[in-house]
């Protein structure tokens, strides 16, 4: 077999030996992560205000002041997606720098990328706040800003792919995940703008089919960015360079990606379209059971194993474990709601919302938090304060459990009564909004606490005032021979 050289390896010595260089380079993913956290803060504030719109005694206050739900929702979703993409990208840069493959050219391009994404974020914030909408779900900002997002994405893609030296096929699984994420996002971002073509716009059914094909793949692309982060952290923490090359890891990646490409149709069963597309979506959705069994067996092994004190990594490990629990819960919910008669009942209800919250906060946000805390531990261990973070994360976990539970119950109830053409019982419609608001508030405040705490911790790093405390470990090549 041809020996393939590493994407990580001895070449790192030249660029990373000097502390000053390390400090300068460490600043880049830390700056990007801070921007991602700022995006999360904006999303949480908009989401928290949006949640108050569901409470009868609160919404008049917002409505009278001109704070409209149709402004809050797009701000919430745009910046939530921004948080996941940008923090995922910061983890990729963290990997590139740690592996010693980050060169001067990449540094210059990185600055251009940050400017482009910054313009897009500012443009989205201003235009949405002023009520200038495109009306496209999840991409409500004017399409001109899509060009800035795409420009930044191309630079990110270049910075990543140009550093994958020595052949693609021998790389660890997280390189595959990040590569698939970058390629599919690029494709789907073009596809998702097909509504700008007049012959698509004039045919709403065709538009819906394409829109949900691209939306499904877009969710798949940011999930892959997150799963890549999880796989990379798993390898880094275990120091087992073979784990990211195992047959099982690749098999699960393959199955996960197959699901990302095709199972979105469990959101479009009810749209008039080819039955075969729906059958494919249903059949492939059911294969998620295999992933669920694997995750459950991992959870059982995790519970049986004697837990050691993880020291500085305790926050990271806590977040990794919680992401795993949420993966099991969300997979179970996804499989149930993919069964067509059940899907008939719950489609367009808060069950879908519960599923989205569980995925985006329970899995994605917890995994990305784990990545950011690992970044801090590796480069700036003095800036990690686990005593403040872990309790806030516990509040977030239980608030999210409450939120997902309340929304699943409410959505199912709504779905059944809607099907039976009956109104909601007064008791349910009176109590649920308050329970929802309570859980949403707990979740929002705890996540805000973590996000602002880490922004404050990262600020000296961003300003270049904090020095790296650890010299990067030189690890053996992760590429199999």
């Amino acid at each position: 077999m041809k020996r393939e050289t590493a994407g990580v390896g001895p070449s790192s010595d030249k660029t990373l030996d000097k502390t000053t260089d390390e400090c300068k380079l460490a600043k880049k993913p830390a700056t990007m992560a801070s921007c991602a956290l700022l995006s999360l803060v904006i999303s949480i504030v908009a989401g928290m205000l949006g949640a108050l719109y569901y409470v009868p005694s609160f919404f008049p206050f917002l409505k009278e002041r001109g704070i409209q739900f149709q402004t809050l929702r797009p701000l919430h979703t745009l910046f939530a997606a921004g948080w996941i993409y940008v923090s995922g990208a910061s983890m990729v840069y963290f990997f590139l720098i740690r592996s010693g493959r980050f060169q001067r050219l990449q540094g210059n391009l990185y600055r251009v990328q940050m400017v482009l994404w910054g313009v897009a974020a500012l443009g989205g914030l201003i235009s949405l706040s002023l009520g200038i909408f495109s009306g496209r779900e999840y991409l409500e900002f004017p399409p001109i800003f899509s060009l800035f997002i795409l420009g930044g994405w191309f630079i990110f893609a270049w910075n990543f792919f140009s550093q994958i030296k020595g052949g693609f096929w021998g790389q660890p699984v997280y390189i595959y995940m990040w590569s698939a994420s970058i390629i599919f996002f690029t494709y789907t971002f073009f596809e998702t703008h097909s509504w700008l073509l007049p012959w698509i716009w004039e045919r709403p059914l065709v538009d819906l089919q394409i829109q949900w094909k691209s939306a499904g793949l877009m969710v798949g692309s940011f999930n892959l960015l997150v799963y890549g982060t999880i796989a990379y952290l798993g390898e880094e923490i275990s120091q087992d360079r073979k784990s990211a090359h195992s047959f099982w890891v690749f098999a699960l990646f393959w199955l996960g990606l197959l699901n990302s490409l095709t199972n979105y149709t469990h959101h479009t069963y009810h749209i008039p379209q080819r039955e075969i597309v729906k059958w494919i979506g249903f059949s492939i959705s059911m294969t998620e059971s295999i992933i669920l069994i694997k995750v459950i067996s991992d959870l059982i092994a995790m519970m049986r194993a004697q837990r050691k004190d993880a020291g500085e990594l305790s926050t990271t490990m806590f977040l990794m474990r919680s992401a795993k629990w949420w993966t099991a819960g969300n997979l179970a919910l996804a499989i149930i709601i993919s069964i067509p008669p059940i899907n008939t009942l719950i489609h367009g209800t808060h069950v879908v919302f519960a599923h989205a919250m569980g995925s985006m906060i329970g899995i994605d946000t917890m995994a990305l938090f784990a990545g950011l805390s690992y970044m801090l531990v590796q480069w700036f261990p003095r800036r990690v304060e686990k005593r403040a973070t872990v309790p806030m994360l516990w509040v977030a976990q239980w608030s999210l459990v409450g939120l997902v539970g309340v929304m699943t119950f409410f959505g199912t109830f709504t779905g059944v009564t809607r099907y039976l053409e009956q109104g909601l019982p007064e008791g349910v419609s009176n109590v649920v909004p308050y329970l929802f608001a309570l859980c949403a508030l707990g979740l929002a405040l705890s996540l805000l606490g973590v996000a602002t705490h880490w922004i404050i911790e990262m600020w000296p790093i961003v300003r270049g005032e904090a020095e790296t405390q650890t010299v990067l470990k030189k690890l053996p090549s992760p590429v199999e021979n």
Partner: protein
């Protein structure tokens, strides 16, 4: 731990690309969406109005959109235009009020009317159960399109 050889990795990616290409072809060659005529000029302007005011943040079409307001896919079937205009003009409960011209109201209503013709946005017991039977029976629930 058994390693995944590069040959198998290549095979996996080829299969994935094949599945993705097949799925894309199935979507783009689907004639179902073309069975209905394209939106009229008035409905197309109505759709633009719907988009510019971000109506989907609260309302759904075919279950897609926000959950704060009702699904409007088939609302034109039983909501006369005068009642529709009154709701949009005065903005009950959480809904903001909109000051549209009569032409804009006509366009927006034309859009909802033409959407109504494309299919059913939500399942109803009366679509599936035998006449007179309004009980909840799991076996009557449709598998796919309502």
């Amino acid at each position: 731990m058994k390693q995944c050889p590069p040959t198998l990795r290549k095979l996996m990616m080829v299969v994935l690309l094949g599945c993705f290409s097949l799925q894309t072809w199935l979507i783009y060659s689907d004639e179902t969406g073309y069975e209905h005529p394209p939106l009229s000029h008035s409905a197309s302007r109505g759709r633009t109005l719907w988009a510019k005011n971000n109506c989907q943040s609260c309302h759904q079409l075919y279950g897609f959109g926000g959950f704060l307001g009702p699904d409007l896919t088939n609302r034109a079937s039983y909501l006369p235009q005068e009642a529709f205009e009154a709701i949009v003009k005065f903005g009950p409960r959480q809904m903001p009020s909109f000051s549209f011209s009569q032409e804009q109201f006509n366009d927006l209503y034309a859009f909802l009317k033409e959407m109504d013709q494309t299919g059913r946005g939500q399942p109803r017991v009366s679509y599936y159960n035998p006449p007179g039977d309004r009980s909840f029976r799991f076996e009557y629930l449709p598998w796919f399109t309502y």
